[in-house]
Structures are given as C-alpha cells and as structure tokens.
C-alpha cells in the first residue's frame, strides 16, 4: 500500500470510539542490512487527536527554540501518542482499529544523533 493513504486516517479503539488520526508512521531499521541499508519495518503509528497538519518537527525531537513557537506547536499536538504495530487489529481505507488493551506510548524520539 501507499503510506500517504494511511496518513490522516481516523483511528478507533476496539469499541469504535474515536481516538484521533494517523499523523505519522514510525519505522525502525533493525533487520539485517539488505544491500545498503536494513529494511525499515513498521514499529507503530503516531496518533494525534487534534491535528495531523505538519508538526514542523517540533513535537517529537525535543526542539525548544524559539520557545514560544515550540509551545504553540506542542500544544496543537497535545495528547498525541504512539501505538505499536502489535496493537493494531485492522487497517482499512477509512479507519484503523486497535486491539483491546492497546498501550499508548510517548511519541518522543530519543535524542540520539542520526547514525
């Protein structure tokens, strides 16, 4: 599938309750190197209840300057969380459904320098 189709899709809990929309997809490069780089596997989805508009990079990588902008953009994305692939029950064209007992994780990216 095309990832762009998934972004912005509404996310529901197992009972059909609305949780937000897919704001991003997180991948991890932990497999064996294929040729040049490992294949990125889907770790989980970032779900945002308020806005899936661009974050301008502010919400996840610990940017705090300029302070006021950082505050405003963080506020716009308050309540966003990450669900792991294991907690996703079904992906449809108009909805993503999570498994019962899914866990909300922090969306923060560890501040590790890019390899």
């Amino acid at each position: 599938m095309i990832l762009g189709d998934l972004l912005g899709t509404p996310v529901h809990d197992p009972d059909g309750g609305w949780l937000g929309r897919v704001a991003d997809a997180r991948f991890v490069l932990d497999g064996p190197p294929h040729q040049l780089m490992a294949e990125p596997r889907l770790l989980g989805l970032v779900v945002s209840p308020h806005s899936v508009a661009s974050f301008l990079g502010y919400e996840r990588n610990g940017l705090t300057h300029p302070w006021l902008l950082a505050r405003i953009l963080r506020w716009r994305h308050r309540g966003s969380f990450l669900v792991l692939w294991e907690d996703i029950a079904m992906v449809g064209p108009r909805s993503v459904r999570l498994r019962p007992g899914f866990t909300r994780y922090s969306t923060a990216l560890e501040d590790r320098r890019q390899v």
Partner: protein, 408 residues
C-alpha cells in the same frame, strides 16, 4: 590580503545588489508623498532582511539545503505547494517588474519606447543566465549597481536644509495623506526591503558558491555591513524625492520622476551615473528573480538545479526560467505599467513573507540540520519579534489595499 579583498567585494556587491526596482520606486513614491517620515520603516526592514538573510545563509552553509527544500520538508507537500504557488507567482511578478524597469531605464537613456526594449532586456537576462558564471554575474551587477550612490551625492549637491530634513524623520502622517495610506505604504516599503526572493537567491547562491561553515563569518559581514549601507542608499532615494519632488507637489508614478532629483543636483553626469545604476540594479535583480523562480520550482520538486552545473545537467531548471521570462515578456506586452506592477509586487511580497520566514526560523533551530550552528538566544528573540511584525504586516496588507484603493 586576498581574503580582505573578498570581504570588500562581498560587501560592495551586497550594497549594489540591495536596491532593485521595488526599492527604487517605493522609496521615491514614499519620499515624494510622505517625506522622510518613513525612514524608520526602512530601518525595520533592513534589520529584518539582515536577520532573515543571515539565518537562511547559515542554514544553507551548515546543511547545504536551500530555502525551498527546507520549506517543503517542514511544511509537507500540501502546505508546501500552497506556499510554492504564492511565492512563485509573486516572484514572477517581480521578474516582470524588473524587466520592465530595465526597459524603462533604457528608454530614459535612449528615448526609444520601453516596449521595444523588453525583448532585448529579457534576451540579455537569459543569455547571462545561460552562459555567465555565477560569481561574475553577481559581482558585475552588484558593482555597477553601486553607481546608485549618486543618489547620496546628489542629495549633498542639492544642499537641502538639513535641519528641516532631519525634522521629517519623526514618524508622522502628512496632512494631505491619511493614516491608512501611510500604513499601506509603510507595508509596501517593508515588503520592498524584505522581498522573499532575496532570501531564495541568497540561500541558493550560498549553495551555488559552495559555502561551508568556514564562510559564515564572511557571509555575516556581507550581510551586516552591506545591507544596512544598501538601506542608506534607499533612504537617499527617498530623501532626494522629499527635497525636490515633495515641495513641487509631485507624487511619483513613473521612473522618469525618480531621476529628476539626481539631474537637479548632479546634472548630466549624475544622470549618466543614475541611469547606469538603475539599469545595473534592475538587470541584476532580474537575474536574481529569474534564477529564484527556477530555484523555488526545482527545490520543491527535487529537480537538479544550479548555475554551477551545465544547463543540460539541470534541464528542467533552465526550461522553467525560460518559461518565466516568456511569461514576464507576455505580461509586459499587454502594456501594463511596470511601475504599477512594481508597487503591487512589493505589497504582495509583504503578504507572502511569513510563508518563507517561518520555516527558515524553525530549521535554523534544528540541530539535525544545523549541528552546533543553531540560532543563539538573541537571534531567536529578534526572530520572534520579527515573526510578529511580519505577520501583522502580512495580515494588514490586503485590508489596507482595499481601503486605500492601493494607496491612491
């Protein structure tokens, strides 16, 4: 020694390259109608462009990324495209105004009707972009543009009453104008000083010339010395108009009025200098805006770009510029007044400014791009102050344009 020469050259071209048709026309209009009561706007604009150009130059040097690549990465495809459309159209308008400016200046020199000069000017712009090396192009246009200093010389030769002139410096609305027209022209002047294309050009030029963080100091000197001196040149244009045209009840509507104070003060020699200066400044700006239209498109879509490549290695970039020049020519061929196009282009520049300013401000804070060269605290405080100023100017521009009938 060589380094010192390089710095001097950079500063001189920054001065000569600061003024374009927008600055020429807007400063003369404002000087003839409002005297020197808007010099503070030029000051605000110059500090703004220093801040903004410095930041985008630093982003380009530290990360190798030009402004529009950054805009798309940060805003995403959708908002990025909206931004591209607005920025590109305004840039195209500026291309049109600059080519018209070259043609008008050539008419003043030759009395051959300006419409006949337009194809010549556009062809010359294309030939330079096609063939001439980036640094030569930039330096020659910038150095020739320095002849505009004749505005300052003429001001001295006019022997104005300096005390009365200084008295005009306080921000105040002349009685024959309203606070609305005053605000409208304040925004136009701000837009003329801070035109977004200068930033596209500046950051892409840094990539063209292969700047690295080692060149940051020189870049900073170029900007921090060159632009304020260029701003002084703008003020001299306004002051000339305020001394000669304002008392005669003339409000500037054509380029032929802009040069009268220089002829008054410095005679035919002054006239020769000012005509060379205007042709060089508008021609240089035509090059910069044409390149900027190629840069914005190529950077958004990820095409290969740059004058440092053979044209065949940046094919779409070159085709885009040719198309832009053709469109500019077609618009001018309708007989639309280039001075009017200029007046609108500076106001629309002010409107579009937040679109380019915000992403640059954000990326300049992102260590992923900038490593240790992120903005310092002072720059960020200033940056936020200017974000507010730019937003206010942008939001106020269209209502003011409607209320004042575009400043008439």
């Amino acid at each position: 020694m060589k380094r010192l020469l390089g710095v001097a050259l950079g500063v001189l071209t920054a001065i000569g390259g600061f003024v374009d048709i927008g600055d020429l026309v807007t400063n003369a209009v404002v000087g003839s109608r409002f005297g020197l009561s808007m010099v503070w706007v030029v000051a605000v604009g110059v500090v703004g462009i220093c801040l903004f150009a410095n930041m985008s130059g630093r982003v380009a040097a530290a990360s190798g990324r030009a402004t529009f690549e950054v805009i798309r990465e940060r805003l995403g495809a959708r908002a990025g495209l909206a931004n591209l459309s607005a920025s590109f159209l305004i840039n195209l308008m500026t291309v049109t105004a600059e080519i018209g400016g070259v043609a008008l200046a050539l008419q003043l020199a030759s009395s051959v009707y300006y419409l006949l000069w337009i194809p010549v000017a556009a062809l010359a712009v294309w030939l330079v972009i096609w063939r001439v090396r980036f640094t030569i192009m930039e330096n020659v246009a910038g150095l020739l543009g320095l002849t505009l200093i004749v505005f300052a010389v003429a001001l001295f030769l006019l022997k104005p009453d300096w005390g009365a002139l200084a008295g005009q410096l306080a921000p105040s609305v002349p009685e024959q104008e309203t606070v609305w027209t005053y605000s409208y022209y304040a925004i136009a002047l701000f837009g003329a000083a801070m035109t977004p294309y200068e930033v596209f050009f500046f950051s892409s030029g840094a990539v063209e010339e292969g700047w690295t963080v080692k060149d940051l100091l020189q870049e900073r000197i170029n900007v921090l010395v060159g632009f304020p001196l260029g701003g002084l040149l703008s003020v001299a244009i306004a002051a000339c108009a305020a001394v000669v045209l304002l008392p005669a009840g003339i409000s500037v509507t054509s380029l032929s009025q802009v040069i009268l104070p220089v002829a008054e003060g410095a005679g035919k020699l002054g006239l020769a200098f000012v005509l060379v200066g205007i042709v060089a400044a508008t021609f240089g700006a035509a090059l910069e805006t044409t390149l900027s239209s190629g840069y914005t498109l190529a950077q958004f879509f990820g095409w290969s770009w740059g004058k440092f490549r053979r044209p065949a290695e940046a094919a779409r970039f070159h085709v885009a510029m040719i198309v832009c020049l053709l469109i500019g020519m077609a618009v001018l061929a309708t007989g639309v007044d280039p001075v009017q196009v200029t007046e609108y282009s500076v106001v629309f520049s002010a409107i579009a400014l937040p679109l380019t300013y915000l992403p640059v401000l954000i990326v300049a804070n992102d260590p992923q791009y900038m490593h240790e060269h992120v903005n310092g605290r002072v720059v960020n405080v200033l940056g936020m102050v200017y974000l507010v100023i730019i937003l206010v100017a942008s939001l106020a521009a269209i209502p003011l344009m409607i209320v004042t009938g575009a400043g008439s």
